[in-house]
Protein backbone atom coordinates (compact mmCIF):
# COMPACT_ATOMS: atom_id res chain seq x y z
CA UNK A 1 0.00 0.00 0.00
CA UNK A 2 2.81 2.39 0.87
CA UNK A 3 4.43 1.73 -2.52
CA UNK A 4 1.16 2.60 -4.25
CA UNK A 5 0.76 5.92 -2.42
CA UNK A 6 4.42 6.80 -2.98
CA UNK A 7 5.76 6.50 0.56
CA UNK A 8 8.07 3.56 -0.09
CA UNK A 9 10.15 2.90 -3.20
CA UNK A 10 9.59 -0.47 -4.85
CA UNK A 11 12.67 -2.69 -4.72
CA UNK A 12 11.51 -4.40 -7.91
CA UNK A 13 8.63 -4.82 -10.31
CA UNK A 14 6.19 -2.20 -11.51
CA UNK A 15 3.24 -0.56 -9.79
CA UNK A 16 0.54 1.56 -11.36
CA UNK A 17 -2.23 3.56 -9.77
CA UNK A 18 -5.24 4.82 -11.77
CA UNK A 19 -3.27 4.17 -14.94
CA UNK A 20 -0.20 6.14 -13.87
CA UNK A 21 3.08 5.03 -12.25
CA UNK A 22 2.70 4.62 -8.48
CA UNK A 23 3.71 7.75 -6.58
CA UNK A 24 2.81 10.09 -9.47
CA UNK A 25 2.03 13.49 -7.98
CA UNK A 26 -0.99 14.32 -10.16
CA UNK A 27 -2.58 10.95 -9.36
CA UNK A 28 -2.32 11.73 -5.66
CA UNK A 29 -4.99 14.41 -6.19
CA UNK A 30 -7.44 11.59 -6.85
CA UNK A 31 -6.77 9.36 -3.84
CA UNK A 32 -7.32 9.34 -0.09
CA UNK A 33 -5.14 7.52 2.43
CA UNK A 34 -5.57 6.49 6.04
CA UNK A 35 -2.19 5.31 7.38
CA UNK A 36 -2.04 2.51 9.91
CA UNK A 37 -0.05 4.45 12.49
CA UNK A 38 -0.37 8.21 12.62
CA UNK A 39 -1.02 11.08 14.97
CA UNK A 40 -2.15 14.50 13.88
CA UNK A 41 -0.68 17.52 15.70
CA UNK A 42 -2.40 17.56 19.08
CA UNK A 43 -2.46 21.37 19.11
CA UNK A 44 -4.64 21.60 15.98
CA UNK A 45 -8.43 21.29 15.96
CA UNK A 46 -9.96 18.62 13.71
CA UNK A 47 -11.34 21.33 11.43
CA UNK A 48 -7.86 22.85 11.10
CA UNK A 49 -6.30 19.48 10.22
CA UNK A 50 -8.89 19.03 7.48
CA UNK A 51 -8.54 22.65 6.36
CA UNK A 52 -4.78 22.16 5.99
CA UNK A 53 -5.30 19.07 3.84
CA UNK A 54 -7.97 20.87 1.81
CA UNK A 55 -5.42 23.59 1.00
CA UNK A 56 -2.81 20.98 0.06
CA UNK A 57 -5.40 19.51 -2.31
CA UNK A 58 -6.38 23.00 -3.57
CA UNK A 59 -10.05 22.17 -3.09
CA UNK A 60 -12.34 24.84 -4.51
CA UNK A 61 -14.98 24.86 -1.80
CA UNK A 62 -12.77 23.79 1.08
CA UNK A 63 -15.24 24.66 3.82
CA UNK A 64 -18.01 22.55 2.36
CA UNK A 65 -15.61 19.64 1.73
CA UNK A 66 -14.37 19.82 5.34
CA UNK A 67 -17.93 19.93 6.70
CA UNK A 68 -18.93 16.94 4.55
CA UNK A 69 -15.93 14.89 5.70
CA UNK A 70 -16.57 15.76 9.37
CA UNK A 71 -20.22 14.85 8.99
CA UNK A 72 -19.39 11.57 7.27
CA UNK A 73 -17.35 10.35 10.25
CA UNK A 74 -19.59 11.89 12.93
CA UNK A 75 -17.10 14.46 14.22
CA UNK A 76 -19.05 17.63 13.43
CA UNK A 77 -19.84 18.30 17.10
CA UNK A 78 -16.18 18.12 18.12
CA UNK A 79 -14.69 19.80 15.05
CA UNK A 80 -13.43 22.81 17.00
CA UNK A 81 -11.76 20.73 19.73
CA UNK A 82 -8.04 20.11 19.69
CA UNK A 83 -6.90 16.68 18.52
CA UNK A 84 -5.05 16.30 21.82
CA UNK A 85 -8.40 15.96 23.60
CA UNK A 86 -9.57 13.13 21.29
CA UNK A 87 -9.78 9.45 22.20
CA UNK A 88 -7.94 6.97 19.98
CA UNK A 89 -11.19 6.10 18.26
CA UNK A 90 -11.92 9.77 17.52
CA UNK A 91 -8.43 10.26 16.14
CA UNK A 92 -9.04 7.28 13.88
CA UNK A 93 -12.28 8.86 12.69
CA UNK A 94 -10.40 12.09 11.99
CA UNK A 95 -7.91 10.05 9.95
CA UNK A 96 -10.84 8.64 8.00
CA UNK A 97 -12.23 12.14 7.45
CA UNK A 98 -8.84 13.23 6.04
CA UNK A 99 -8.87 10.21 3.70
CA UNK A 100 -12.42 11.01 2.54
CA UNK A 101 -11.77 14.70 1.96
CA UNK A 102 -12.54 15.93 -1.55
CA UNK A 103 -14.39 12.73 -2.58
CA UNK A 104 -11.42 10.81 -3.99
CA UNK A 105 -11.87 8.08 -6.60
CA UNK A 106 -9.77 5.62 -4.66
CA UNK A 107 -9.32 5.40 -0.90
CA UNK A 108 -6.62 3.41 0.83
CA UNK A 109 -7.47 2.32 4.36
CA UNK A 110 -4.66 0.67 6.28
CA UNK A 111 -6.05 -1.25 9.24
CA UNK A 112 -8.88 1.28 9.74
CA UNK A 113 -10.59 -0.53 12.62
CA UNK A 114 -7.60 -1.75 14.59
CA UNK A 115 -8.03 0.87 17.32
CA UNK A 116 -11.81 0.90 17.40
CA UNK A 117 -14.42 -0.61 19.71
CA UNK A 118 -17.22 -2.76 18.24
CA UNK A 119 -19.43 0.29 17.64
CA UNK A 120 -16.60 2.09 15.86
CA UNK A 121 -15.90 -0.98 13.74
CA UNK A 122 -19.52 -1.21 12.75
CA UNK A 123 -19.47 2.52 11.82
CA UNK A 124 -16.41 2.02 9.62
CA UNK A 125 -18.01 -0.97 7.89
CA UNK A 126 -21.11 1.12 7.22
CA UNK A 127 -18.89 3.93 5.88
CA UNK A 128 -17.07 1.56 3.51
CA UNK A 129 -20.43 0.29 2.28
CA UNK A 130 -21.61 3.86 1.65
CA UNK A 131 -18.43 4.62 -0.29
CA UNK A 132 -18.86 1.47 -2.35
CA UNK A 133 -22.47 2.39 -3.11
CA UNK A 134 -21.20 5.80 -4.28
CA UNK A 135 -18.79 4.12 -6.72
CA UNK A 136 -15.61 4.85 -4.77
CA UNK A 137 -13.01 2.10 -4.79
CA UNK A 138 -11.84 1.26 -1.28
CA UNK A 139 -8.53 -0.54 -0.91
CA UNK A 140 -8.71 -2.07 2.55
CA UNK A 141 -5.69 -3.56 4.26
CA UNK A 142 -6.67 -5.58 7.30
CA UNK A 143 -5.69 -8.53 9.43
CA UNK A 144 -9.26 -8.80 10.70
CA UNK A 145 -10.43 -11.30 8.11
CA UNK A 146 -14.02 -11.42 9.36
CA UNK A 147 -14.22 -7.72 8.52
CA UNK A 148 -12.66 -8.29 5.08
CA UNK A 149 -15.16 -11.07 4.39
CA UNK A 150 -18.06 -8.79 5.29
CA UNK A 151 -17.17 -5.73 3.22
CA UNK A 152 -14.85 -6.69 0.38
CA UNK A 153 -15.83 -7.65 -3.15
CA UNK A 154 -12.36 -8.83 -4.05
CA UNK A 155 -9.65 -10.14 -1.77
CA UNK A 156 -5.94 -10.56 -2.23
CA UNK A 157 -3.94 -12.60 0.28
CA UNK A 158 -0.30 -11.61 0.52
CA UNK A 159 2.19 -13.77 2.35
CA UNK A 160 5.78 -12.62 2.80
CA UNK A 161 5.43 -10.09 0.00
CA UNK A 162 3.91 -12.48 -2.54
CA UNK A 163 0.31 -12.78 -3.68
CA UNK A 164 -0.81 -16.29 -2.74
CA UNK A 165 -4.49 -15.97 -3.66
CA UNK A 166 -6.73 -13.40 -5.31
CA UNK A 167 -10.40 -13.25 -6.27
CA UNK A 168 -13.89 -12.74 -4.91
CA UNK A 169 -14.59 -13.91 -1.35
CA UNK A 170 -16.83 -16.71 -2.66
CA UNK A 171 -14.22 -17.89 -5.12
CA UNK A 172 -11.51 -17.85 -2.47
CA UNK A 173 -13.51 -19.63 0.19
CA UNK A 174 -14.77 -22.19 -2.35
CA UNK A 175 -17.77 -24.48 -2.10
CA UNK A 176 -18.64 -25.38 1.46
CA UNK A 177 -20.10 -28.82 2.27
CA UNK A 178 -21.48 -30.39 5.41
CA UNK A 179 -24.10 -29.79 8.10
CA UNK A 180 -24.62 -30.55 11.80
CA UNK A 181 -28.02 -31.61 13.07
CA UNK A 182 -29.07 -31.83 16.75
CA UNK A 183 -31.78 -34.34 17.61
CA UNK A 184 -32.78 -35.99 20.91
CA UNK A 185 -29.65 -38.12 20.54
CA UNK A 186 -27.38 -35.05 20.28
CA UNK A 187 -25.26 -33.54 17.42
CA UNK A 188 -24.56 -35.53 14.28
CA UNK A 189 -22.59 -34.46 11.22
CA UNK A 190 -23.55 -35.10 7.57
CA UNK A 191 -21.25 -34.72 4.53
CA UNK A 192 -23.74 -33.18 2.11
CA UNK A 193 -23.95 -30.09 -0.13
CA UNK A 194 -25.78 -27.14 1.42
CA UNK A 195 -28.64 -27.39 -1.08
CA UNK A 196 -29.28 -30.95 0.14
CA UNK A 197 -30.02 -29.78 3.72
CA UNK A 198 -33.84 -29.38 3.27
CA UNK A 199 -34.10 -32.93 1.90
CA UNK A 200 -32.03 -34.26 4.81
CA UNK A 201 -34.25 -32.50 7.35
CA UNK A 202 -37.40 -33.85 5.63
CA UNK A 203 -36.02 -37.38 5.68
CA UNK A 204 -35.05 -37.22 9.37
CA UNK A 205 -38.47 -35.85 10.33
CA UNK A 206 -40.15 -38.60 8.27
CA UNK A 207 -38.06 -41.13 10.20
CA UNK A 208 -39.51 -39.68 13.43
CA UNK A 209 -36.49 -37.69 14.64
CA UNK A 210 -37.06 -34.57 16.76
CA UNK A 211 -34.88 -31.84 15.27
CA UNK A 212 -33.65 -29.08 17.64
CA UNK A 213 -31.10 -27.34 15.38
CA UNK A 214 -29.50 -27.46 11.94
CA UNK A 215 -26.15 -25.76 11.28
CA UNK A 216 -24.70 -25.63 7.76
CA UNK A 217 -20.91 -25.91 8.04
CA UNK A 218 -19.15 -22.64 7.11
CA UNK A 219 -15.65 -22.24 5.77
CA UNK A 220 -14.42 -18.75 6.55
CA UNK A 221 -11.86 -16.58 4.81
CA UNK A 222 -9.74 -17.06 7.89
CA UNK A 223 -9.81 -20.86 7.42
CA UNK A 224 -8.78 -20.36 3.82
CA UNK A 225 -6.08 -17.85 4.77
CA UNK A 226 -4.60 -20.17 7.38
CA UNK A 227 -4.63 -23.09 4.96
CA UNK A 228 -2.85 -21.03 2.30
CA UNK A 229 -0.29 -19.47 4.60
CA UNK A 230 0.50 -22.69 6.46
CA UNK A 231 0.86 -24.58 3.20
CA UNK A 232 3.32 -21.95 2.00
Amino acid sequence: MKILVGLVRASGGEAQLLGRPAGDRATRERIGYLPELFRYPDWLAAREVLGFHARLMRLGDARRAVDAALDEVGLSDRAADRVGTYSKGMQQRLGLAVALLGTPELIFLDEPTSALDPVGRSDVRALIERLRARGTTVFLNSHLLGEVERVCDRVCIVDRGRVVAEGSVDALVGETRGARVRTDEGWREYDIAHDEIPALVARLVAEGAHIHAVEPKQTTLEDRFLALVRRA
Partner: protein, 286 residues
Protein backbone atom coordinates in the same frame (compact mmCIF):
# COMPACT_ATOMS: atom_id res chain seq x y z
CA UNK B 1 2.62 27.76 -2.30
CA UNK B 2 2.86 24.50 -0.31
CA UNK B 3 6.18 25.72 1.11
CA UNK B 4 4.33 28.66 2.68
CA UNK B 5 1.65 26.32 4.04
CA UNK B 6 4.26 24.24 5.85
CA UNK B 7 6.08 27.36 7.03
CA UNK B 8 2.77 28.71 8.38
CA UNK B 9 2.07 25.41 10.12
CA UNK B 10 5.50 25.58 11.80
CA UNK B 11 4.88 29.13 13.02
CA UNK B 12 1.41 28.26 14.26
CA UNK B 13 2.85 25.33 16.18
CA UNK B 14 5.39 27.56 17.94
CA UNK B 15 2.63 29.96 18.98
CA UNK B 16 0.17 27.25 20.06
CA UNK B 17 2.76 25.33 22.03
CA UNK B 18 3.35 28.53 24.01
CA UNK B 19 7.01 28.70 23.02
CA UNK B 20 6.57 32.24 21.73
CA UNK B 21 4.90 33.34 24.96
CA UNK B 22 7.59 31.72 27.14
CA UNK B 23 10.43 33.23 25.11
CA UNK B 24 8.76 36.64 25.11
CA UNK B 25 8.43 36.64 28.92
CA UNK B 26 12.05 35.53 29.42
CA UNK B 27 13.30 38.10 26.93
CA UNK B 28 11.47 40.84 28.81
CA UNK B 29 13.02 39.65 32.08
CA UNK B 30 16.52 39.62 30.57
CA UNK B 31 15.97 43.04 28.99
CA UNK B 32 14.74 44.48 32.29
CA UNK B 33 17.80 43.03 34.02
CA UNK B 34 20.08 44.52 31.35
CA UNK B 35 18.33 47.86 31.72
CA UNK B 36 18.86 47.82 35.46
CA UNK B 37 22.56 46.92 35.01
CA UNK B 38 23.08 49.65 32.42
CA UNK B 39 21.35 52.15 34.67
CA UNK B 40 23.74 51.26 37.51
CA UNK B 41 26.67 51.63 35.12
CA UNK B 42 25.53 55.03 33.83
CA UNK B 43 24.95 56.36 37.34
CA UNK B 44 28.02 54.78 38.94
CA UNK B 45 30.19 57.06 41.06
CA UNK B 46 33.93 56.35 41.26
CA UNK B 47 36.18 58.34 43.58
CA UNK B 48 33.35 60.75 44.23
CA UNK B 49 32.78 61.52 40.55
CA UNK B 50 30.44 60.00 37.97
CA UNK B 51 32.08 57.78 35.36
CA UNK B 52 33.05 59.79 32.26
CA UNK B 53 30.99 59.08 29.19
CA UNK B 54 33.80 57.33 27.22
CA UNK B 55 34.29 54.89 30.11
CA UNK B 56 30.53 54.22 30.32
CA UNK B 57 30.38 53.63 26.58
CA UNK B 58 33.41 51.32 26.60
CA UNK B 59 31.90 49.26 29.42
CA UNK B 60 28.51 49.20 27.67
CA UNK B 61 30.18 48.09 24.42
CA UNK B 62 31.83 45.18 26.21
CA UNK B 63 28.56 44.18 27.85
CA UNK B 64 26.69 44.41 24.53
CA UNK B 65 29.25 42.06 22.95
CA UNK B 66 28.90 39.56 25.81
CA UNK B 67 25.11 39.82 25.56
CA UNK B 68 25.33 39.20 21.83
CA UNK B 69 27.49 36.15 22.50
CA UNK B 70 24.89 34.78 24.91
CA UNK B 71 22.24 35.71 22.37
CA UNK B 72 24.05 33.76 19.63
CA UNK B 73 24.00 30.67 21.85
CA UNK B 74 20.27 31.09 22.50
CA UNK B 75 19.68 31.50 18.76
CA UNK B 76 21.77 28.43 17.93
CA UNK B 77 20.05 26.30 20.59
CA UNK B 78 16.67 27.63 19.51
CA UNK B 79 17.41 26.82 15.87
CA UNK B 80 18.53 23.29 16.76
CA UNK B 81 15.74 22.55 19.23
CA UNK B 82 12.97 24.02 17.08
CA UNK B 83 14.25 23.05 13.63
CA UNK B 84 15.00 19.40 14.31
CA UNK B 85 11.68 18.44 15.99
CA UNK B 86 9.57 20.33 13.49
CA UNK B 87 10.91 18.01 10.79
CA UNK B 88 11.69 14.76 12.62
CA UNK B 89 8.59 14.59 14.81
CA UNK B 90 6.20 14.93 11.90
CA UNK B 91 7.94 11.89 10.38
CA UNK B 92 8.10 9.92 13.64
CA UNK B 93 4.43 10.38 14.56
CA UNK B 94 3.17 9.51 11.09
CA UNK B 95 1.68 12.97 10.47
CA UNK B 96 3.68 13.21 7.26
CA UNK B 97 2.22 9.99 5.82
CA UNK B 98 -1.23 11.37 5.05
CA UNK B 99 0.34 14.66 3.91
CA UNK B 100 2.61 12.93 1.39
CA UNK B 101 -0.36 11.03 -0.05
CA UNK B 102 -1.45 14.50 -1.27
CA UNK B 103 0.07 16.13 -4.36
CA UNK B 104 2.95 17.45 -2.26
CA UNK B 105 6.67 17.33 -3.05
CA UNK B 106 8.89 16.18 -0.23
CA UNK B 107 11.12 19.18 -0.92
CA UNK B 108 8.18 21.45 -0.09
CA UNK B 109 7.96 19.99 3.41
CA UNK B 110 11.70 20.40 4.06
CA UNK B 111 11.78 23.95 2.69
CA UNK B 112 8.57 24.92 4.46
CA UNK B 113 9.83 23.68 7.83
CA UNK B 114 13.14 25.46 7.23
CA UNK B 115 11.46 28.69 6.25
CA UNK B 116 9.03 28.58 9.19
CA UNK B 117 11.82 27.98 11.71
CA UNK B 118 13.94 30.70 10.15
CA UNK B 119 11.07 33.20 10.13
CA UNK B 120 10.49 32.57 13.85
CA UNK B 121 14.20 33.00 14.59
CA UNK B 122 14.46 36.16 12.49
CA UNK B 123 11.48 37.66 14.30
CA UNK B 124 13.02 36.77 17.66
CA UNK B 125 16.44 38.20 16.73
CA UNK B 126 14.90 41.39 15.39
CA UNK B 127 12.51 41.94 18.30
CA UNK B 128 14.72 40.86 21.21
CA UNK B 129 17.90 42.33 19.71
CA UNK B 130 16.29 45.69 18.96
CA UNK B 131 14.75 45.81 22.44
CA UNK B 132 18.09 45.10 24.16
CA UNK B 133 19.97 47.67 22.07
CA UNK B 134 17.30 50.30 22.65
CA UNK B 135 17.44 49.74 26.40
CA UNK B 136 21.25 50.00 26.37
CA UNK B 137 21.03 53.20 24.35
CA UNK B 138 18.30 54.64 26.56
CA UNK B 139 20.24 54.02 29.78
CA UNK B 140 23.82 54.78 28.66
CA UNK B 141 23.53 56.65 25.36
CA UNK B 142 25.74 53.98 23.74
CA UNK B 143 24.88 52.48 20.35
CA UNK B 144 27.13 49.96 18.61
CA UNK B 145 28.55 51.01 15.24
CA UNK B 146 26.34 48.82 13.03
CA UNK B 147 23.47 47.24 14.99
CA UNK B 148 21.32 46.23 11.99
CA UNK B 149 24.22 44.42 10.36
CA UNK B 150 24.96 42.68 13.66
CA UNK B 151 21.35 41.44 13.92
CA UNK B 152 21.48 40.28 10.29
CA UNK B 153 24.64 38.28 11.06
CA UNK B 154 23.00 36.78 14.15
CA UNK B 155 20.05 35.72 11.94
CA UNK B 156 22.55 34.14 9.58
CA UNK B 157 24.05 32.17 12.49
CA UNK B 158 20.52 30.90 13.20
CA UNK B 159 20.08 30.05 9.52
CA UNK B 160 23.22 27.90 9.49
CA UNK B 161 22.19 25.95 12.60
CA UNK B 162 18.57 25.62 11.35
CA UNK B 163 19.81 24.30 8.02
CA UNK B 164 22.04 21.73 9.70
CA UNK B 165 19.33 20.67 12.16
CA UNK B 166 16.64 20.24 9.51
CA UNK B 167 18.91 18.41 7.07
CA UNK B 168 19.93 16.01 9.85
CA UNK B 169 16.32 15.60 10.99
CA UNK B 170 15.26 14.25 7.59
CA UNK B 171 17.00 11.04 8.62
CA UNK B 172 17.74 11.23 12.37
CA UNK B 173 15.37 11.41 15.37
CA UNK B 174 14.60 14.91 16.65
CA UNK B 175 16.76 14.66 19.77
CA UNK B 176 19.82 13.39 17.91
CA UNK B 177 19.51 15.88 15.05
CA UNK B 178 18.99 18.81 17.45
CA UNK B 179 21.89 17.91 19.71
CA UNK B 180 24.26 17.22 16.81
CA UNK B 181 23.40 20.59 15.23
CA UNK B 182 23.95 22.39 18.56
CA UNK B 183 27.27 20.56 19.04
CA UNK B 184 28.39 21.51 15.53
CA UNK B 185 27.72 25.12 16.43
CA UNK B 186 29.91 24.67 19.55
CA UNK B 187 32.59 22.96 17.48
CA UNK B 188 32.57 25.82 14.99
CA UNK B 189 32.99 28.31 17.84
CA UNK B 190 36.00 26.37 19.16
CA UNK B 191 37.32 26.23 15.59
CA UNK B 192 37.08 30.01 15.43
CA UNK B 193 39.04 30.37 18.67
CA UNK B 194 41.72 28.00 17.36
CA UNK B 195 41.93 30.04 14.19
CA UNK B 196 42.32 33.26 16.19
CA UNK B 197 45.03 31.73 18.38
CA UNK B 198 46.77 30.22 15.35
CA UNK B 199 46.83 33.57 13.56
CA UNK B 200 48.01 35.41 16.69
CA UNK B 201 50.85 32.97 17.33
CA UNK B 202 51.74 32.61 13.68
CA UNK B 203 50.90 28.88 13.87
CA UNK B 204 49.66 28.07 10.37
CA UNK B 205 48.54 24.52 11.20
CA UNK B 206 46.31 25.72 14.05
CA UNK B 207 44.90 28.51 11.91
CA UNK B 208 44.22 26.06 9.07
CA UNK B 209 42.42 23.66 11.42
CA UNK B 210 40.18 26.54 12.48
CA UNK B 211 39.60 27.51 8.86
CA UNK B 212 38.60 23.94 7.95
CA UNK B 213 36.06 23.87 10.80
CA UNK B 214 34.74 27.26 9.68
CA UNK B 215 34.23 25.85 6.19
CA UNK B 216 32.51 22.70 7.43
CA UNK B 217 30.05 24.59 9.65
CA UNK B 218 30.27 28.33 8.94
CA UNK B 219 28.30 29.61 11.95
CA UNK B 220 31.34 31.02 13.73
CA UNK B 221 32.46 33.03 10.70
CA UNK B 222 29.05 34.70 10.75
CA UNK B 223 29.19 35.28 14.49
CA UNK B 224 32.44 37.12 13.85
CA UNK B 225 30.57 39.29 11.40
CA UNK B 226 28.12 40.20 14.18
CA UNK B 227 31.05 40.83 16.52
CA UNK B 228 32.72 43.18 14.04
CA UNK B 229 29.48 45.09 13.54
CA UNK B 230 29.11 45.56 17.31
CA UNK B 231 32.75 46.40 18.03
CA UNK B 232 33.75 50.06 18.47
CA UNK B 233 36.83 51.03 16.42
CA UNK B 234 38.94 51.17 19.60
CA UNK B 235 38.18 47.50 20.29
CA UNK B 236 39.19 46.53 16.75
CA UNK B 237 42.45 48.43 17.08
CA UNK B 238 43.15 46.80 20.46
CA UNK B 239 42.43 43.34 19.02
CA UNK B 240 44.85 43.98 16.15
CA UNK B 241 47.47 45.14 18.64
CA UNK B 242 47.06 42.07 20.87
CA UNK B 243 47.22 39.75 17.91
CA UNK B 244 50.30 41.52 16.63
CA UNK B 245 52.15 41.02 19.92
CA UNK B 246 51.21 37.33 19.94
CA UNK B 247 50.96 37.34 23.70
CA UNK B 248 47.24 36.95 24.22
CA UNK B 249 43.98 36.42 22.43
CA UNK B 250 40.54 37.83 23.10
CA UNK B 251 37.88 35.48 21.74
CA UNK B 252 35.35 38.31 21.91
CA UNK B 253 37.20 40.59 19.52
CA UNK B 254 38.02 40.47 15.84
CA UNK B 255 40.44 42.47 13.77
CA UNK B 256 38.38 42.73 10.61
CA UNK B 257 35.03 41.98 9.01
CA UNK B 258 34.65 38.42 7.68
CA UNK B 259 35.91 38.23 4.09
CA UNK B 260 33.32 38.30 1.30
CA UNK B 261 34.41 34.82 0.27
CA UNK B 262 33.30 33.27 3.57
CA UNK B 263 29.90 34.98 3.27
CA UNK B 264 29.44 33.50 -0.20
CA UNK B 265 30.65 30.19 1.15
CA UNK B 266 28.03 30.34 3.96
CA UNK B 267 25.30 31.00 1.39
CA UNK B 268 26.51 28.16 -0.85
CA UNK B 269 26.83 25.89 2.21
CA UNK B 270 23.22 26.62 3.18
CA UNK B 271 21.96 25.77 -0.30
CA UNK B 272 24.09 22.63 -0.53
CA UNK B 273 23.12 21.30 2.91
CA UNK B 274 19.44 22.06 2.37
CA UNK B 275 19.58 20.32 -1.02
CA UNK B 276 21.25 17.34 0.63
CA UNK B 277 18.50 17.29 3.27
CA UNK B 278 15.85 17.30 0.53
CA UNK B 279 17.64 14.44 -1.28
CA UNK B 280 17.91 12.45 1.97
CA UNK B 281 14.20 12.92 2.66
CA UNK B 282 13.20 12.10 -0.93
CA UNK B 283 15.01 8.80 -0.82
CA UNK B 284 13.72 7.83 2.62
CA UNK B 285 11.11 5.07 2.85
CA UNK B 286 8.39 6.15 5.25
Amino acid sequence: MNVLLFAGLTLRELIRRRLVAAVAVLTLVITAFTGWGMNRLATAVVDGAPLPEPAVHAAAAGIVILLAFLFSFVIALGAALVGAPTMAESIANGEVLAVLARPVRRAEIVLGRWLGTLAALAFYVAAAGALELLVVRGETGYAPPNPLLALAFLCAVGAIVTTGAIALATRLPALTAGIVAAMLFGLAWIGGILQTIGLALGNARLADAGTIVALLFPSDALWRGALYALQPAAFTAAAANVNGSGTGVNPFAVTSAPPQAILWWAAAWTIAVLTTGVALFRTRDL
